[in-house]
């Protein structure tokens, strides 16, 4: 919709330019969707010229302005994005999550042409799929401050509540780095929605790293991402179903489950436990693969 209070659109990526009444304009799909009656200026990142995706042996760096459409193409284009070296190209099975998380958007592929990775995270929605993806892969955000400083923070900690982030006024999300150890991990993905292809009510990502660490990231079900981390011996190996339940009990108080039209908190809670157990079985063994029954909710 028209943002009729906007008096100026200023092309800049310099946090020093920010003043109260300004908003960073990335894809615009959130700002122009909700509108505003208070904003005066849009600081347009459209001309920032940040390279959307940079790949090296240590991982992947996503510019905040990387569009979802570009990200969606990443798994196909990885080889040509790697620097030319003699080393064997890395094997990153966790890239399978990229398309799964893109498809978790309630928004269609057309929106992906505009909306950005950083914009989705900075919106801070519990069901933000880029928050799910980046938190699930231990993504670390680089944040530019109006004072000229730079800080980093795990994405899992950046989103702190429903529509809330730890970004200070004027701070600008610059990029997210996805580390190689997470990309190299085996992963499992589960999602449920109240409608086919609808907004996520529960989205869990499990990761079993090469060093044996098991990481479970809960999003959408909870007001903010919740990460359960089970280190190498004895934790992950000893993680049986009961231990997982205890860990979830401890990590997620009932009040942290999200309550809105996209799912009742009791349902979200039960589904979190159900999907977490499916992921545990899939990644750590201890039973048959849960892959088949885990596909509920994807619509077909």
């Amino acid at each position: 919709m028209d943002m009729n209070t906007i008096e100026e659109l200023l092309p800049t990526a310099d946090p020093a330019a920010w003043r109260p009444g300004d908003a960073w304009l990335a894809g615009g799909t959130v700002l122009f969707s909700y509108g505003s009656s208070t904003l005066r200026r849009l600081l347009d990142l459209g001309a920032a010229g940040w390279t959307p995706i940079t790949v090296d042996a240590d991982g992947i760096e996503l510019a905040a302005t990387c569009t979802i459409a570009a990200l969606y193409e990443l798994p196909d284009t990885l080889p040509q994005r790697l620097p030319e070296t003699d080393a064997a190209p890395p094997v990153w099975p966790a890239l399978a999550l990229v398309r799964q998380c893109c498809d978790a958007f309630v928004a269609s592929f057309k929106i992906w042409n505009m909306s950005t990775v950083g914009g989705n995270i900075a919106t801070g929605l519990p069901a933000g799929p880029m928050t799910s993806l980046c938190a699930g892969l231990d993504g670390v955000a680089t944040i530019l401050s109006p004072g000229g400083g730079t800080r980093t923070m795990p994405v899992a900690e950046l989103v702190v509540g429903d529509g809330l982030t730890s970004l200070a006024p004027g701070e600008l999300l610059r990029s997210i780095r996805l580390p190689a150890h997470a990309l190299a991990a085996r992963v499992a993905y589960r999602r449920l929605s109240l409608s086919n292809l609808g907004r996520s009510g529960v989205l869990l990502i499990g990761r079993h790293d090469g060093d044996g660490t098991f990481v479970l990231t809960v999003t959408a079900a909870t007001q903010r991402p919740v990460q359960l981390r089970f280190g190498t011996r004895p934790d992950a190996d000893a993680l049986d179903a009961d231990a997982l339940v205890r860990a979830l009990d401890a990590a997620i108080p009932v009040s942290l489950y999200h309550d809105d039209i996209h799912g009742l908190p009791r349902w979200r809670r039960d589904m979190t436990y159900k999907l977490a157990e499916e992921i545990r079985r899939e990644l750590l063994g201890g039973g048959e693969s849960a892959g088949k029954e885990g596909r509920h909710g994807h619509g077909d």
Binding site: D2, L9, S37, S195, L197, G201
Partner: protein
């Protein structure tokens, strides 16, 4: 700054916060539609450098130096894009408001994308079609007929699937909806925005508009002090006395969050918005009540206490009681005592919103002669004219109301929601004034379906005889009583009279609450009541161990049975013009049996241990015309070129009545539908038309058109006989000539020679909507429920309809598919939620999910073979009613699958899951929706 739009350079500069959608419309690309303005519905889809984007969330300045293509630029001159051709061939639209976006999206698809339409079309919402016709269009599979002759376009006579006359305009983006006007026609157009109440109940102490008036561009601020004292109802009915007079254009008391407080009129929307922010209102808070039962309880704040029962037609303003009905036929207590099984439960239906893709909007202006013209998105132009005359004290001939093509209605536009306030401003300012609702205003400040709470008791004997049926109904009409009496009475009508039962009792009350008003909604009370009654019938059958369809066959009315609900005698003017309920029941039962066999044979009957499968059905009846008069008038004439023009009052909002009128006229005139042009929905065209509601477009307005065409056919033959000297008996009217004893007199020549003799070849037809007939719909589902997650899969969806002679099978099928889809939304997740302080929380489409392509299964549609003695050429209505049996059929299927009876809508996955959990835990009392039941009947699909 410049961008290329459809190959032409446009040099105008967008505003810094402007989205591409409004910029393109300002540049004249009126095919770019606003459905939501928030990126959800896709109606505004355009291409930027070949990529499809939602132009409502695309910053216009970002299009600088780029090439933009809108629907107007999709065709190559007169050669349509293949996707446009396909949408025409398959008629992949009804109202057509979503079509431009569909085309601009689907025209970018490669074959792989066409393989996965649920994913690739989820960003394009259609409220009318149910998506089947869109799938056929996108994939180029053209029309899929439901039987051998279903797809025949023929000459466009009755029984042919004639294409909609507006088709080409719709697919090229040139169809003109309400606001698709040339600015040159409205010089000095002003824009209105409304100050709305943040409080559920308050008295306005003061309104300070001084700051608003200082905002550059603001021309005026109107408050209750400027509004006429005349009270009215936003509801539109043939008799305005059907609804309480409880509404003012602007009131000094606000009764729901979102009610109009003041209207700011300015040169631009932006200035009007700034003006709204600058208006300072002081409120005296009043106690409020949000729940209908609480509103009826002693001590509740009286919302319309300032009004008088008799004068304003409110049953009891002191008790928030708008209307009530209490009746008993036979002896319900005795009937329940004689029953072998008794079912008692409280059923609840939620608020749902119509979500017509075109929001409410109107433009009012005063012509040089001082006459008020209103162009509006309305189903009732004539009644709205009358309401405006009444409110502003104007003579009828001083007001004209016109509807362009209307972008969806579903009952929501059987109200005067914007016309009164734009008229007020235009009359005061003598300049054109436009008001366009936002999607959020649709949710928070227009109307919804009436929520019903239905305490039901029903009993049956072991032999399958229904012995008693009693309902205690409370309906929530919100802050105003528009449609409150009608919805309550109608809801308790056909839902009960479709069953033979000696003992019936109705207690019904419609209550005011401090919530967004409820109004007319597809089904008009029936969908709510039928949910309860059909659930109860199913439950009784299950407890008897009887097949629910068999139980229905024993108790449903048969041709000639008195149709009784509240009165001991049937309504005098409701007759069995035809009866096809028995066929519908058989058609659905047979289709479900075939479906079950298909699954078995395919080895797909067992979905795994977590899945419970079952089937469910429900039936419904509807009177083909609303009671107490529904009038239509048609004027049809032969044109100089030998074609015809019919002027009708009824509006086109995707219901397809324009096609039907052309077909009825063509049939009577032995012509072709494409030779009959229809002019419509303009109060200057005909004497009167009650409106396109109550499923009357075919059976009332169509009957007037048929009568006019039949009369004209006679006049043409008589004139030909007169001119040629051949006896009339030897003159036969044909497509373009009258054959007079072998000699062809072309119609154009007939017109010429008749004119020379001073003969005007014109005829009129009228119909008053009585007597009325009954139409039937029966729905069946096979479902699978995942007991671990609550996911519901629809394995089969079947609807059988008794529409009499089906005038246009393709269109009628589309109406049914669209009704099913809309009903699935209401059954599964749509819910206008209201918070503790009375505010609507679900105020954008991301919070109010309507069915997307991915959500709607293909339905099998079957027609009973009947011919109605009362409808035009045997036809009956078929527009509201397909909605009505869907929710109970679904709940009954879930009951059959899981053994759990759900009594509350919507049945989202979380509710189903938790209902199953609670049922297995035995916590039935007070559980939110589901309750376990004893002897469940399970049937493997």
């Amino acid at each position: 700054m410049a961008m290329e739009i459809n190959g032409t350079r446009h040099a105008n500069e967008p505003r810094p916060g402007q989205c591409l959608r409004t910029f393109l419309r300002e540049e004249g690309m009126l095919g770019v539609k606003k459905g939501c303005d928030g990126g959800d519905c896709g109606a505004c889809t355009v291409h930027v450098d070949g990529q499809p984007v939602h132009s409502c969330i695309y910053p216009a300045v970002r299009a600088e130096g780029r090439s933009v293509t809108t629907v107007e630029g999709l065709a190559d001159g007169d050669t349509l894009h293949p996707m446009q051709e396909q949408f025409l061939d398959a008629q992949g639209f009804q109202c057509g408001f979503c079509t431009a976006g569909m085309l601009m999206t689907a025209s970018t698809f490669d074959d792989a994308q066409k393989e996965n339409l649920p994913r690739n079309l989820k960003g394009n919402l259609c409220r009318c079609t149910g998506y089947r016709a869109i799938a056929d269009a996108v994939c180029g599979t053209g029309t899929v007929g439901m039987d051998d002759d279903g797809a025949r376009a023929g000459d466009g006579q009755v029984g042919d699937s004639a294409p909609a006359p507006a088709g080409r305009a719709v697919v090229t983006g040139t169809a003109r909806y309400t606001l698709d006007v040339d600015p040159a026609d409205y010089p000095g157009l002003l824009h209105m925005k409304l100050v709305r109440s943040p409080h559920p109940h308050a008295r306005i102490e003061s309104i300070d508009a001084s700051a608003a008036l200082r905002v550059p561009g603001v021309r005026a601020v109107f408050t209750h002090e400027d509004a006429p004292a005349q009270l009215f109802s936003t509801a539109q009915h043939e008799l305005y006395t059907d609804d309480p007079d409880d509404t003012r254009v602007l009131d000094s008391v606000v009764r729901h969050v979102g009610q109009r407080v003041a209207a700011v009129v300015a040169d631009t929307v932006a200035a009007a918005e700034a003006g709204v922010r600058a208006v300072v209102v002081r409120y005296e808070h009043l106690p409020f009540v949000l729940d209908a039962a609480a509103a009826l309880a002693p001590g509740a704040p009286a919302i319309h206490a300032d009004k008088d029962a008799a004068t304003h037609r409110i049953a009891d303003p002191a008790r928030n009681l708008v209307a009530e009905l209490h009746s008993e036929l036979g002896d319900v207590a005795a009937g329940l005592a004689a029953a072998d099984v008794v079912h008692e439960a409280t059923y609840r239906t939620q608020r749902v919103q119509h979500v017509a893709l075109e929001t409410h909007a109107s433009i009012a202006h005063i012509d040089d002669a001082g006459r008020l013209h209103v162009r509006s998105s309305t189903q009732t132009p004539y009644l709205t004219r009358r309401a405006l005359c009444r409110v502003f004290g104007l003579p009828t001939d001083q007001v004209r109301v016109v509807a362009g093509r209307v972008g969806g209605g579903f009952g929501g536009k059987q109200e005067m929601l914007t016309e009164d306030i734009t008229a007020l401003a235009a009359l005061a300012l003598r300049r054109p004034v436009q008001l366009e609702y936002t999607r959020t205003e649709q949710f928070t400040a227009s109307t919804t379906r009436h929520p019903f709470t239905i305490r039901l008791s029903a009993g049956a004997r072991r032999d399958g005889t229904l012995t008693a049926l009693a309902v205690d109904v409370v309906t929530d009409t919100g802050a105003y009583g528009n449609h409150a009496p009608g919805v309550m009475f109608h809801g308790c009508g056909e839902s009960l009279s479709v069953y033979k039962c000696a003992n019936k009792r109705i207690d019904a009350r419609a209550a005011y609450t401090n919530t967004v008003p409820a109004g007319a909604f597809r089904g008009y009370g029936l969908s709510q009541m039928i949910f309860a009654v059909e659930s109860a019938v199913d439950e009784l059958a299950a407890r008897l161990g009887m097949d629910p369809m068999e139980f229905r066959r024993r108790n449903m009315i048969r041709d000639g049975d008195p149709m009784l609900s509240s009165a001991p005698e049937p309504e005098e003017d409701v007759l069995y013009g035809s009866y096809g309920l028995d066929q519908c029941v058989d058609l659905v039962a047979d289709a479900l049996a075939r479906g079950s066999a298909r699954y078995r044979e395919a080895g797909m009957a067992d979905l795994g241990p977590e899945w419970a499968v079952g089937t469910g059905t429900a039936l419904s009846m509807i009177d083909t015309v609303p009671p107490r008069g529904h009038f239509a008038h048609t004027v049809i004439e032969l044109l100089p070129d030998g074609t015809y023009r019919a002027a009708v009052g009824t509006a086109e909002f995707g219901n397809g009545t324009t096609t039907v009128h052309a077909q009825l006229a063509a049939t009577a005139l032995h012509s072709r539908a494409d030779r009959v042009a229809i002019a419509q929905s303009d109060t200057d065209l005909t004497d009167h038309d009650t409106g396109a509601f109550g499923s009357t477009g075919t059976v009332v307005a169509g009957k007037a058109t048929l009568a006019a065409a039949q009369d004209l056919a006679g006049r043409l033959v008589a004139a030909a006989a007169d001119i040629t000297g051949v006896p009339a008996a030897d003159c036969v009217l044909g497509i373009d000539a009258v054959a007079c004893a072998g000699r062809a007199l072309p119609l154009a020549q007939l017109h010429r020679e008749a004119a020379a003799r001073g003969l005007v070849l014109r005829a009129e037809g009228r119909w008053g909507g009585t007597p009325r007939s009954v139409a039937f719909n029966v729905h069946g589902f096979a479902v699978a429920v995942n007991t671990g997650t609550g996911e519901l899969r629809i394995l089969q969806s079947v609807q059988a309809a008794d529409a009499g002679v089906v005038v246009n099978p393709r269109q009628c099928r589309g109406q049914i598919e669209g009704g099913i889809a809309q009903a699935l939304g209401a059954a599964l997740y749509e819910n206008v939620r209201i918070g503790a302080e009375g505010r609507v929380e679900t105020d954008i489409l991301r919070q109010y999910h309507i069915p997307t392509f991915a959500d709607v299964p293909r339905s099998e549609v079957y027609f009973a073979r009947t011919s109605d003695a009362l409808g035009p050429l045997g036809a009956k209505s078929m527009s509201e009613s397909p909605f009505n049996p869907v929710a109970p059929a679904l709940a009954n299927a879930i009951r059959n699958a899981t053994g759990v009876r759900f009594t509350e809508l919507p049945l989202a996955r979380d509710v189903i899951y938790l209902g199953l959990v609670d049922a297995s835990a035995g916590t039935l009392a007070g559980s939110s929706a589901g309750s376990p039941v004893g002897s469940s009947v399970r049937e493997q699909v």
